[in-house]
């Protein structure tokens, strides 16, 4: 419990604001329009398809064009563009990136195989000899080969099965090599892509695609964070133990209202202390941001989070954000249910404090193992008292059995749950189970707001 964070009365206990439409549909439409443009380019540029070589090379070229297109998309998706991070939601964008990444890896393999095979059939040579010729004598192909191999290695390391065998940091820094790989592979597309050599317009489109992806990365991943940290000068103010393995870190900074962080959002935090500075980790704000301070609450699940308890006041902090779309903008109904599992309570704690609501409209259900594990319990109860909101704890039984979250249990606490907007945050298994229960209790899918970083 932190005295500096005594909850404040919400300033405006009025009707919910109008729902802001998620830009996800528009972003997806734009992405698919690009696919159509790429295929149209191929179509317009391809004559007769005669014989097996033409089929192989044709398929290889389509795969290659799509690989090149989606590489730019993959970079763009991870550029931390606000419309993606805050509009679509960081978790959803990360899932898009992961599935598009897997798909692109397959396309790349198909492109390499089909093109080399097709060329070999066409020129009546062996695949090995043809590969040597292509790699060593075709323009930009040494670079292209290195780029392609890098991409395949990175793809392999990122695959679900293999990723767990590496430390997160190994995976992360290896992943940064993607930029180099994409850069290296870019040039052979223009030098050898038959569609680009004959069409200045197509070449312009390709340059525009890659230049905008690169510009977005430089701006939103480098320039914006630098400006943020120079302006706000964040430092650790205090570290508070909230529960046996849960700590809160209070961070002070200047002019934090200009950060425009909203309750429910998170930042990526890099604590400039020995052993911690090389990892940036996303943690949600566990209280509505104040003009001079922010707070995160973290459960010790890994090396990084466990080390936070040893942070000394005064430690410099490098933060990036705010990100995330689990905010008041999502809301469309008067009544709101916040459903928290374990440390997932943190963003919901911030929303519990700040979501505009009349007395009786706001309910928080907090699932935890034991009463000792209820982090932020006293703050939650204070907020409930001040706001006329309700808090319910769902704890394991005395024999350690965990209660099943059922529609009946939910109905017992919130009889009109179907009339609520639901904000859901918890470990993946719990969130998934809760989602199904909410749906069966009659809550429409578009009224369930959740954020899940499990890929």
């Amino acid at each position: 419990m932190s005295t500096t964070y005594s909850p404040r009365q919400a300033r405006h206990a009025v009707a919910p604001p109008g729902r802001r439409r998620s830009p996800a549909g528009a972003v997806l439409l734009l992405g698919w329009a690009g696919v159509a443009a790429v295929l149209a380019l191929w179509w317009q540029d391809t004559g007769a398809v005669v014989g097996p070589a033409d089929w192989l090379i044709g398929a290889g070229r389509i795969a290659g064009l799509l690989t090149g297109y989606s590489c730019a998309l993959l970079v763009g998706l991870m550029a931390r563009v606000p419309v993606l991070e805050q509009g679509v939601g960081s978790d959803r964008v990360a899932r898009w990136h992961a599935s598009l990444g897997r798909y692109t890896g397959c396309l790349l393999l198909a492109h390499i195989t089909l093109i080399l095979w097709g060329y070999a059939v066409q020129s009546h040579t062996g695949v090995v000899g043809e590969t040597t010729t292509v790699v060593l004598t075709y323009p930009e192909m040494v670079k292209g080969t290195i780029g392609g191999l890098l991409l395949l290695v990175i793809g392999l390391v990122s695959a679900r099965a293999v990723r767990g065998k590496f430390r997160y940091e190994t995976w992360y820094y290896l992943h940064l090599l993607t930029y180099l790989a994409v850069f290296l592979a870019f040039w052979h597309q223009l030098a050898l892509g038959a569609d680009f050599s004959t069409h200045p317009l197509a070449r312009g489109f390709w340059y525009a695609l890659y230049v905008s992806a690169a510009a977005a990365v430089l701006w939103y991943r480098i320039a914006v964070p630098m400006r943020l940290n120079l302006r706000h000068r964040l430092r650790v103010a205090s570290v508070v133990r909230e529960a046996p393995d849960v700590v809160s870190v209070v961070v002070h900074g200047r002019r934090l209202s200009e950060l425009a962080a909203r309750p429910g959002q998170f930042l990526r935090w890099r604590f400039l202390a020995p052993g911690l500075w090389w990892t940036a980790t996303p943690y949600s704000l566990s209280a509505a941001p104040r003009p001079e301070m922010l707070r995160i609450t973290v459960k010790a699940v890994g090396d990084h989070s466990a080390a936070l308890i040893r942070l000394r006041p005064g430690t410099r902090v490098w933060a990036e954000g705010p990100y995330g779309a689990l905010t008041a903008d999502r809301r469309t109904r008067r009544k709101v249910l916040l459903l928290a599992g374990g440390v997932g309570v943190t963003p919901l704690r911030a929303l519990f404090e700040s979501l505009p609501a009349r007395p009786g409209d706001l309910t928080l259900i907090y699932r935890a193992r034991t009463a000792d594990d209820l982090a932020l319990r006293y703050e939650l109860e204070t907020i409930a008292r001040l706001r006329g909101a309700r808090v319910h704890y769902v704890l394991n039984q005395a024999d350690g059995r965990s209660p099943r979250l059922t529609a009946d249990l939910l109905g017992g606490i919130v009889p009109d749950v179907a009339e609520h907007d639901v904000y859901l945050c918890g470990p993946p298994g719990m969130a998934q189970a809760a989602y199904q229960v909410l749906r069966s209790a009659g809550v429409p899918a578009h009224h369930i707001h959740h954020e899940s970083f499990e890929l």
Partner: protein, 158 residues
Amino acid sequence: MNAPSSRPLRRVLLSTLTTVGGVLLLLGLKPHVTTGAAGAVTQSAAPFPTPSASGTSPTGGSSSASGTRTVEGDTVQTRYGPVQLKITLRAGKISAVSAVQLPDQNPRDQEIDNFAVPQLTQEALAAQSANIDTVSGATYTSQGYIQSLQSALDKAGG
């Protein structure tokens, strides 16, 4: 908002089938026979006058005392670059075809030239006309070759 759960296997299967099907469809919708200018030229190609039929003295090109002469064909612009041929006639028969210009902007062009041109030359010498088949995988070069060859024969026979 989407459900947190999804069926990964079904999604993988679906996207694979969609992609493979889509690519096959795109390729399948394209024509599968060679068409275009060269095709028409081949169809209308007049047979080269045989030595017995042509009693006239040869015109155009350069001739030598031994009755051998060379004729250059037109430069035909293909998508990948110009094609121009030179034919050698001995006693009214095509005895050799050589290339003056071929697409050579990148190694791929050269590779295609390397396998396609000898094959086309062999066909031309056997047929003694420009009425020859295109080489698979070298459609554009073949079309250029046939057109330039026809123009050379026209000049020689002119």
